[in-house]
């Protein structure tokens, strides 16, 4: 689960990381009231769950109330790569001396979190890694977390001045603590800035939480902003499905994540375009199948739907029953191609044929068929 900048900053602030004050606004009036309180100049920052806000024009400085009203109004109406801006963060503009980078991610290979710091902050760390790899210091965290002496070593890499290092080192230790305590999969400060007055501040916060750990963080689970996500993805999550919207025309309903990915790939291989990734999991619960059908039926781009089920523990006849129940409940007008193989395949075919439907058994054949149906429907 991705957090908004203002939410990440709340976590940082609570952990003792210095963060500039700030409040969020949902309209221009609120924005001006906050800016008046904080004092000008302020920065108006779009709160969207996607990177590249600055480049898209979603971060602007306002020097007075008129500026604030205009910029907040403009940014609140923006769409940043498919993400509508519904909130802006108003924060006092900071005098920046230097921009640094500090971030913690999971190093899958080393099976432990990795702290990365760079004196080249304010840009994509991937870009720094590509162009100036010597400007990144990597330190693995271990069972001890980040011991103070290692935090000091990282701070020395970031700034030569001892007075600044003394401020940076505890920030890095606290970042490591946030990462571990909150079950984060990413905790990033970019930029971490020094000011001419010798302060060190986190000007941005990017925090991604481990979805699998939200059960033990009820407070963090409440931070989820369903309005900032795709409605289909929100509904899918609530129904226990795994769904990702893509930009094609062929909807797919598959059991299992690997098979679902392979199905998308196969659609593309045969010249079609998948509209989504959708894994109904090991369940053949009719409710899940109905929910899946609902999501696809609402998607105006979908021209045809492919069911690809490999029955193992999931029984094909259960899925067929779920499909028929779903069709009874919602008037599905889209053409459907069904592929069933495995456990209770015959029973499933009998069920479907009693309703005038047939199922294929070969995956390539089914994919070619659904592409043809989608082309007819277009």
């Amino acid at each position: 689960m991705n957090l908004h900048e203002y939410q990440g900053k709340e976590l940082f602030r609570a952990a003792g990381i210095p963060v500039p004050p700030g409040e969020t606004a949902r309209n221009a009036e609120e924005a001006v009231a906050i800016a008046d309180r904080l004092g000008y100049p302020v920065v108006v920052k779009a709160q969207v769950l996607i990177g590249g806000r600055g480049k898209a024009g979603g971060v602007k400085v306002a020097r007075g109330p008129e500026d604030a009203r205009r910029e907040a109004g403009r940014i609140l109406g923006m769409d940043i790569r498919g993400h509508a801006v519904r909130q802006v963060l108003i924060t006092p503009a900071t005098d920046i001396e230097k921009e640094l980078y500090a971030g913690i991610v999971l190093d899958r290979k080393a099976e432990t979190p990795l702290l990365m710091v760079s004196p080249d902050g304010g840009v994509d760390i991937e870009e720094v890694a590509r162009t100036r790899p010597d400007r990144i210091l990597r330190l693995h965290l271990d069972a001890r977390g980040l011991p103070a002496y290692r935090a000091r070593a990282a701070a020395r890499f970031l700034d030569p001045r001892f007075a600044i290092q003394r401020r940076i080192a505890p920030i890095l230790a606290q970042l490591a603590r946030v990462y571990a305590d909150q079950d984060a999969s990413l905790a990033e400060i970019n930029p971490l800035v020094t000011t001419p007055g010798g302060e060190v501040l986190a000007l941005d916060a990017k925090v991604v939480l481990d979805d699998n750990a939200l059960d033990r963080h009820p407070d963090l689970a409440l931070m989820r902003d369903p309005g900032a996500e795709d409605p289909g993805e929100v509904e899918a999550r609530e129904r226990g499905l795994s769904y990702v919207r893509l930009d094609g025309t062929i909807g797919c309903v598959v059991n299992g994540a690997g098979l679902a990915m392979a199905t998308m790939d196969l659609i593309q291989f045969h010249g079609g375009k998948p509209a989504n990734f959708l894994d109904i999991g090991g369940s053949s619960n009719p409710e899940k199948v109905t929910a899946a059908m609902n999501i696809l039926a609402r998607d105006a781009r979908v021209r045809a739907v492919l069911f690809n089920i490999f029955g193992g523990i999931t029984r094909c006849d259960d899925v067929a029953r779920g499909l028929l129940t779903a069709l009874d409940r919602i008037g599905m007008r889209l053409p459907i191609v069904i592929r069933l193989t495995g456990t209770n395949e015959k029973e499933a075919r009998d069920l479907l044929s009693s309703r005038g439907m047939t199922a294929l058994s070969d995956m390539d054949e089914a994919v070619r068929a659904v592409i043809a149906r989608a082309a007819e429907a277009a």
């Binding site: 099976e111 760390i125 979805d211 090991g282 193992g312």
Partner: protein, 345 residues
């Protein structure tokens, strides 16, 4: 033979009285697996479909000499279940559970270092040596005994490929689902080394997916130490960056972990990469066919195949070295499988 599990494997089911545990314990037993014990705290002394249930793994191991544990407990309890089996020194622990927090697995990975237990999973279908033993949730009937090894990060996609192999009359020695999480106990490199050392495996099918760099590591291992042919498939070529595709570990992040990179690296290592799953049986057949005549030529005609002749002995030498290295690295893990083999006799 097969890898990791065989007829002699004595299986303990953690969480045997739960919905999944009870169902799959029965299924495994029906397949022919020797399910010797179950563990559910508080249910000790009872039975589950003829399988004795114990309160703790320690007690179950003491009474039944179980040497494989398979875990079906909920995600919140999985870390503890793994620790319990590791502390009882069970050589092989297979964790089926999906949805374990990454931090729990980071801690498990640290704890496993220097210990003798091999973990398979989590978030995996388990493993099967067809006709011998099944430890997991895969449908037994799609498999058939044979000489192809299979290792995969997926569940149903693995079944799809197994089914295609079976229909192409290519039986399997062992199929391992290593799991779809970012941190897993057994990786491609571990499984490939085991298959390389297994006399009953002629070729290996490897099914990877987006996320991480385990497939790239596998390519490096194949290049340096494997003499058996490997055929690969990578799922997620059409996956958009930054989006998790169902599996917690299936995500392209920061431009790395893409299917294209993995496919290119594997091809560079000489691994045929299937564009679609249905291509796999043909690629396996071709890889096996390429290998045999080459060896025959080397053995037969000296002058005509001078180049090959130079190459072949090098390869032959390499194999035992690689196997030895692997044995040294995995330490007790092998001893464990040997022990179970002895017991069978």
């Amino acid at each position: 033979m097969s890898i990791l599990i065989d007829r002699g494997s004595r299986v303990l089911v953690q969480g045997i009285t739960g919905r999944d545990g009870s169902f799959h314990a029965k299924q495994m037993k029906e397949y022919g697996t020797r399910v010797v014990a179950g563990v559910t705290p508080g249910k000790g002394g009872t039975q589950m479909g003829g399988i004795p249930v114990f309160d703790s793994v320690e007690e179950a191991v003491a009474k039944t000499k179980a040497d494989v544990s398979v875990i079906y407990v909920p995600a919140a309890l999985a870390q503890d279940a793994i620790y319990e089996s590791v502390d009882s020194e069970i050589p092989l622990v297979v964790c089926i559970t999906e949805g374990i927090p990454v931090r729990d697995m980071v801690e498990v990975a640290r704890y496993l270092k220097g210990r003798s237990t091999r973990l398979v999973g989590p978030n995996c279908p388990g493993l099967i040596s067809p006709g011998r033993s099944k430890v997991g949730i895969m449908p037994g009937f799609i498999h058939t005994p044979g000489r192809i090894g299979l290792v995969s990060r997926s569940g149903t996609l693995t079944y799809e490929v197994v089914w295609q192999l079976t229909r192409a009359a290519m039986g399997q020695s062992t199929c391992i689902g290593i799991g779809g999480d970012p941190i897993i106990g057994t990786r491609f490199t571990d499984a490939l080394a085991l298959f390389q050392a297994d006399d009953a495996t002629d070729a290996v099918v490897m099914i990877g997916e987006i996320g991480g760099t385990d497939e790239e590591d596998a390519a490096a291992l194949i290049e340096s130490t494997m003499t058996k042919p490997v055929v690969a498939f990578i799922a997620g070529q059409t996956a958009p960056p930054g989006k998790r595709m169902g599996h917690a570990g299936a995500i392209v992040s920061g431009g790395s972990g893409t299917a294209r990179e993995k496919m290119a690296r594997l091809e560079q290592a000489g691994v045929p990469v299937a564009k679609v799953p249905s291509e796999i049986p043909r690629l396996v057949a071709e890889a096996l066919a390429r290998r045999r005549p080459k060896l025959r030529v080397v053995a037969g005609r000296a002058a005509a195949a001078k180049k090959k002749r130079v190459r072949a002995p090098v390869k032959k030498k390499r194999a035992p070295v690689a196997a030895k290295k692997k044995r040294a690295a995995s330490g007790k893990r092998r001893t464990a499988s040997k022990a179970s083999a002895k017991r069978r006799r």
